[in-house]
Amino acid sequence: MLTFKLNGQAVQSKAALSETLLNVLIEDFQVHGSKFGCGRQQCGSCTVLVDGNPLRACAAPLSSVAGRSVQTLEGLTQGGKPSRLQQAFIDEQAAQCGYCTSGMILTAQALLDRSPHPSEQEVRQALDANLCRCGAHNRIVKAVLRAAKKVGA
């Protein structure tokens, strides 16, 4: 039995410790935000935050989050409403298909948490290992900068 925090709630998992965190989140905890994209840590669509840092859940074993705090896209919402960053993504219409969006938002959230007012270049750098195939890159960058502008404003 392994215990960790999922979106602020203490949870327990009986899954094999070697199972990927992504599979466990999807199968046992009905997490929808994090998505399977490659299973090779190459695209970022499975990204979750572990103690505030981005982690590729597709390749991380469940054991790696023992006692730690895991946050997914649904965990960012506040009382069923979008967070500031999620709202910025909606306001900028920062997607096309939206499959990579969860990974984008969580990776950007980690950036904003450590650097509340990043430059455009810093945003691009932070997201560089997250792949988008639809070509929504510029809108995603604008959404992150929009959310950053509102931090402390």
């Binding site: 929808h32 649904e74 298909c97 070509g135």
Partner: protein, 777 residues
């Protein structure tokens, strides 16, 4: 910008049990009963020529109630056969429906792509959804509004012309009113559309033409279940398939019992050379699939032409048809004084969806197969699957459920077929099948490699007298058009289904030769299609089909000619471009680029290119500014500009998003992408071996749209693919004097060509592979 107010009416959890009856019950649907019935039967029984041609897909789905229902709960149900692929179609058709019906957008409930419920609109592809689906919705909504007004006038005892409508409330000048939902009666009556009710005057538009937030974004951005990959049904099992090493492999031997004995495994399935495993947990399916894969012995291909050899293979391929699709001989006897020729090459490109394809299928004890799929062609794919499984067509129901962006015929249909093959083995249990990244990369049908040769004869004054273009291509349309042979796994079954020999698409849309006929008016103009049906590599529809390579070639060659005669590339194009809308976008993008700096920064350049997609859809001109690093060969796109004309705009922000996304994807194809393969197998198996454009490489994109109020809607999703590639080649030429004719423009190729250009005086080969053009330098 306000939050979206329209909603998708498909709660995923409710999908499998959603029958027509339960839908009608829960939505409180009251079908339209009209006081004044048209003599529909009479008009139908007349001679076929008397059947009126109806706008868009109303032509093939002629009943108004097939599209629109007025519900007792004060909502409108809009049913469409086109599906959401990330392109925003559902938002756009909602806008059109709300506009023409005069109801608030929040009242629209959408049902899309459920083969049991919606009009059959065929495949969602080819930039057809706006001209066909949105136009049908426009006319159907206008006509339903007219009918409702007629009913209201009768009820209120006034003339229709005195009535006004606001959000479904119909009022007289004296203040009497009734509502749409009070006007319809209970029993189901269908009525054929006449197509005779004119849509609204564009000056009255409230929704159409306004930037509208996508209705599917809030759930996607808050982690609410919307994708098929997220579907979790009670009792759902997980499946994986095991693929062979190469396209024509056959399974020689395999140990099934070891995988069958593994924890959680429900069933190991072998059908000929098709292998799959069904387990309780995904990790258990993965583990068993790995064991199966290790024990399987396969025969292997040995004769593939390789990615380096594919262009020569295409030119020499034995099985091909040759067709002249344009043969306009020059009337004038003017002598030419110069001629130019060039050869352009485009490799196989992937769709490369970020999410691997997935489907959930359930085979009931009653023999019905229900499949949640992100297929673009729910009707045809359902029929193909029925034939593959030996089921009656009506026993297979596909329900479109969104997937990752697909950009064409990717593996969505194969996933649906595989899920169904496996679900049939475990009656009553939903089976979820999702591919691994390597399976998606190695088995998806790619956009075909192509060779395009161009030749021009010029007069003394530099006028193009004769323009010849010949292209060589594999098929671009190998979708499951109701045929099991076009489903990947069906070819590996015990009694394999053969791939149907694909046909090329004809006018006006074309396929391999899409956009091969330049929109320019030349005196002599010939276009020849060499269509090669033998496919060494699996290929099918990929965003733009042949237009990507054909526009790349035409628009590169126009620049080569302009350079040869030392004329400004835009001015050169305008000489041959008569279509004023085409001229407008080209001049607009030129204006956006601004005047050329008097002193050019070294190694920087700009390029433009233009096409009207399919010569019948959106007009798109692209301008790019680039910088080429002569040491590394790396091309950096500094700025990108698009001028577009998509006719009457419905959702301008949606059009901008599509054009910008298309440009960025095309930059990715053109700068980086090439499917690699050796004699036996595909080598591009993940994002490391098939890299795509990253955030740090994406330029700022500036877009201006020219709205055409009242003109037909034009599809925009594929318009930027072709012009972007040529604008890039033209900008690189402007920056370096080097003409790149083989895609992709990798740093290695750029360096190689820079080196050749430098060494040209020493008698080295011309830049670009197999090109004798004198256009460079």
């Amino acid at each position: 910008m306000s939050n979206s107010s329209t909603s998708l009416s498909q709660p995923l959890s409710a999908l499998p049990s959603l029958s027509r009856r339960s839908l009608l019950k829960t939505s409180g649907y009251l079908s339209l009963q009209f006081a004044l019935m048209m003599p529909a039967k009479e008009s139908l029984s007349a001679t076929p020529s008397a059947v009126p041609h109806l706008p868009g897909d109303l032509q093939t789905n002629r009943s108004l109630s097939a599209w629109i229902r007025v519900n007792a709960d004060q909502t409108i149900t809009l049913l469409v056969g086109k599906v959401e692929l990330g392109q925003g179609i559902l938002t756009a058709v909602s806008q059109v429906c709300a506009e023409e019906l005069d109801v608030d957008l929040s009242r629209i409930r959408l049902i899309s792509g459920d083969t049991r419920l919606v009009p059959n609109e065929g495949v969602t592809a080819g930039s057809f959804s706006m001209p066909y689906c949105a136009t049908a919705v426009q006319y159907a909504s206008a006509e339903v509004r007219q009918i409702l007004l007629g009913l209201a006038a009768e009820k209120l005892g006034v003339l229709v012309s005195t009535l006004s409508v606001k959000d479904g409330v119909v009022s007289t000048p004296t203040g009497a009113s009734t509502r749409y939902w009070d006007l319809v009666l209970g029993s189901a009556l269908e009525r054929e559309a006449t197509g005779q009710v004119a849509p609204k005057d564009p000056s009255l538009y409230r929704y159409v033409g306004q930037p509208m937030p996508r209705i599917d974004f809030p759930p996607k951005m808050m982690g609410q279940s919307i994708f098929v990959q997220e579907l979790r049904l009670p009792g759902m099992l997980h499946a994986r398939v095991v693929r062979p090493p190469s396209y024509r492999s056959r399974l020689l031997s395999v140990n099934l019992s070891r995988a069958q004995a593994m924890p959680g495994v429900v069933k190991v399935v072998r059908k000929g050379s098709f292998l799959g495993v069904i387990a309780k947990r995904l990790s258990q399916a993965d583990a068993a699939a790995l064991v199966l894969e290790k024990s399987a012995k396969w025969s292997q291909d040995t004769q593939m032409p390789t990615h380096e050899g594919i262009f020569e293979w295409l030119l020499k391929a034995p099985t091909h048809s040759v067709k002249q699709i344009k043969s306009q001989t020059r009337a004038s006897a003017e002598a030419f004084t110069q001629e130019l020729e060039a050869t352009y090459q485009r490799p196989f490109h992937m769709h490369g969806s970020i999410g691997t394809s997935c489907a959930v299928a359930t085979f009931s004890a009653e023999g019905e197969m229900v499949i949640q799929t992100h297929s673009q062609s729910v009707f045809e794919t359902g029929l193909s699957i029925a034939k593959m499984l030996g089921l009656a067509p009506e026993m297979v129901r596909c329900q479109h459920t969104q997937g990752s962006g697909c950009y064409g015929h990717n593996m969505a249909d194969d996933a649906a077929a595989d899920a169904a093959l496996l679900a049939k083995e475990v009656i009553g249990s939903p089976v979820r099948m999702q591919y691994t990244r390597a399976q998606e990369h190695q088995w998806e049908p790619y956009g075909s490699a192509m060779v395009v040769k161009t030749h021009a004869r010029l007069s003394e004054s530099g006028e193009i007298l004769d323009w010849d273009l010949a292209l060589w291509s594999n098929p671009h349309q190998v979708r499951p058009n109701g045929d099991p042979g076009n489903l990947l796994s069906a070819r590996f079954l015990e009694k394999p289904f053969d791939l149907v020999i694909p046909e090329n698409g004809g006018p006006p849309n074309y396929a391999a030769d899409r956009n091969a006929i330049a929109l320019y008016e030349f005196k002599g103009h010939k276009v020849t299609t060499n269509f090669i049906t033998e496919m060494p590599v699996r290929a099918s529809s990929t965003r733009g089909l042949g237009a990507y390579a054909n526009v790349f070639s035409i628009e590169s060659f126009m620049d080569e000619v302009a350079s040869k005669i030392e004329l400004d590339p835009v001015e050169h194009r305008l000489r041959y471009l008569k279509d004023t809308r085409a001229r407008d976008v080209l001049m607009k993008v030129n204006e956006m680029l601004g005047s050329k700096p008097s002193v050019k920064r070294p190694n920087t350049g700009r390029g433009v290119a233009f096409a009207r997609y399919k010569n019948i859809a959106t007009y798109c001109a692209v301008g790019l500014e680039v910088e080429v690093n002569p040491q590394t060969g790396y091309i950096r796109v500094l700025q990108a500009y698009i001028a577009g004309d998509a006719g009457q705009l419905v959702n301008p922000d949606g059009v901008k998003n599509q054009l910008e996304g298309g440009l960025i994807q095309s930059l990715s194809w053109t700068l980086k992408e090439e499917v690699k393969f050796d004699e036996t197998r595909i080598l591009s198996e993940d994002w490391a071996s098939y890299p795509i454009l990253k955030f740090s490489e994406v330029p700022p994109v500036h877009i201006e749209l020219i709205n055409r109020p009242g003109m037909p809607f034009l599809g925009a999703g594929e318009a930027a693919q072709g012009p972007t590639s040529a604008a890039l080649a033209n900008a690189v030429f402007d920056a370096t004097g080097v003409r790149l004719r083989r895609i992709p423009f990798t740093p290695e190729r750029v360096l190689e060509n820079l080196g050749k250009a430098k060494g040209k005086d020493k008698g080295k080969a011309q830049v670009g592979a197999e090109v004798q053009s004198g256009a460079v330098g």
